[in-house]
Symmetry: C2
Subunit: 314 residues, 2 copies
DNA sequence: CTGTTAGCGCCTTCAT
DNA sequence: ATGAAGGCGCTAACAG
């Protein structure tokens, strides 16, 4: 039966026919679990470990990975570990116990040396959106630094000097974006004002909204804001709209309806689907046995001019 | 080792200690695949089969299911089958081959009697968002009919008579919404005008945008539009905005930024996360052995008034 | 070309 | 309380 089902070995047509008939009559289906148990075989399951899917950024990664995985005959397990690094570690351990063939992960902040155990099991890992410390593995990123630079420079080009930045807690990415922001200041021969560098309490739009309201209520408010994530941008635009202030805003990451807002959102963004595609393909290649040193791909970002970033200071 | 790891049978503390030490030293981890192979055991994998995750509607279902599954010790496989019923059938078959413990599915149009084979394997299924023909299983829905009625009546209440409907191709749901639309007409003692019932070519915002432009370019255009999905609503609002027309729009399904648009979107919506929660919990209960006749839960919908639906005809 | 068998890792008997 | 053994369904290796 195995030989017929898998078509590997030579089988006389008559025999094959007989077997197939029986299969049809009995409604036989091979058991993938038993298949996966055999040595050298895998579960044909790949996993993605990422944040809340209601964030379109993660949803897009998941969607891309689902499609690619299916194309390669794999099913996709979606796991999320919003909370902490511990939850992440537990999730990874569970995935490992399931003998997943590979893992695409958006790592949290902190040390990821626990992933070394994963690697010892020959399970390939690809980091996406952020690298992780303590392990070496393939990683696919956006050019966050350059994005921060582009956004900030764009605001300078429109006459702004007091440019605030809303730093959302995805530490790595927003940290790099902040580096780009600083680089833009240096390139323009300006000093950054520490009071304009605002760490948001969480990643929600509301945190950004509150922070923006606070910024704009100061005696010497910024004339422009660089919002380092999609939700931060939403929150900033909300606050600016509510207070009816002429404040420029540039976001990082594009989002649906950005162009339909009363003041359409100018954003810096990279191709998230492409990033997910590369990461998943890299993973599939590693699963397929492609060896070599860890790769590091950095995808370009570009500015999309829509209006909110072109408001000039009065 | 098994007895120590699972803590079922009685083991002398000294022995347990000895085993645990060895486990620690060797980095032993139980193999879930082998566990799942044993008779009576399951893969502890549940699956959701739904549409494109870049649609926030599906993303929210997936997110909710991920969280609940994890809470119950299950991992979640996300599969999608946008195209056709055949792809859906193949996807289901593959999931079956993996011996998933249960399936939450947003079924496509058409006959689903092939799912009966799934049921023969004692794999519980729960339908979400739409029922399917040819099988009886639990189903959790929104009150689409009532939603269509509420939306349309709301437009009547604001003086409209020529109310168009954009029917997106998710057949079941939008079909029910259309029934509600007709019911509202009957309740108001009005006749529906077949030329105002527009079937969209696909589920994209652009299809709705094109259809709306066409509607509004007619000599006798509608004064209000009921858009039966989130993307249809977006497209309708786009077209209305582009043509700078005073046309009322009510959508079905809420969406992010709906309140921030130049004309904030009035929508009818249900609690999608709650729907997903009920479906997943129902599935987990069935997996846990809860028997009984198929349940059918219909969740209420409500109108959110924001502006686009309160525009009056001139 | 086909029948037979070992063994993947686990849990559940059965026998001590 | 523990050791031993069978068998879940599969495939690769072996022997005809």
């Amino acid at each position: 039966v195995s030989r017929v089902v898998n078509g590997a070995s030579a089988v006389r047509p008559a025999t094959a026919e007989r077997v197939n008939r029986a299969i049809g009559e009995l409604g036989f289906r091979p058991n993938d679990i038993a298949r996966a148990l055999r040595p050298g075989m895998t579960s044909r399951l790949i996993a993605v470990l990422l944040g809340d899917l209601t964030n379109p950024f993660y949803a897009e990664i998941a969607e891309t990975a689902v499609a690619l995985a299916r194309g390669a005959g794999y099913a996709l397990v979606v796991a999320s570990a919003d909370e902490d690094r511990d939850a992440e570690e537990r999730a990874v351990q569970q995935l490992l116990d399931r003998r997943i063939a590979g893992l695409v992960i958006v790592p949290h902040r902190g040390d990821h040396s626990f992933l070394a155990s994963l690697q010892r099991t020959d399970t390939p890992i690809v980091f996406i959106d952020r690298p992780a410390s303590g392990v070496t593995a393939d990683v696919v990123l956006l050019d966050n630094d350059q994005g921060g630079y582009l956004a900030t420079t764009h605001l300078f080009d429109h006459g702004h000097r007091r440019v605030a930045i809303l730093v959302a807690p995805s530490y790595y990415t927003t940290g790099r974006r902040r580096l780009g922001y600083r680089r833009a200041f240096r390139a323009a021969g300006l000093e950054t004002d520490p009071s304009l560098i605002v760490a948001l309490r969480d990643g929600s739009a509301d945190a950004a909204r509150a922070a923006t309201r606070e910024l704009l209520s100061r005696p010497d408010p910024p004339t422009a804001i660089f919002a380092t994530t999609n939700f931060a941008c939403e929150g900033a635009l909300r606050a600016v709209g509510e207070l009816r202030r002429r404040v420029a805003v540039v976001g990082f990451d594009d989002f649906r309806l950005a162009d339909m807002l009363p003041v359409p959102a100018t954003v810096v963004s990279g191709d998230v689907a492409e990033m997910a595609r590369r990461a998943t393909q890299l993973l599939l290649a590693r699963i397929g046995g492609v060896d070599g040193p860890p790769e590091r791909e950095v995808l370009p970002v570009a500015l999309t001019v829509r209006g909110s970033g072109e408001i000039r200071p009065r």
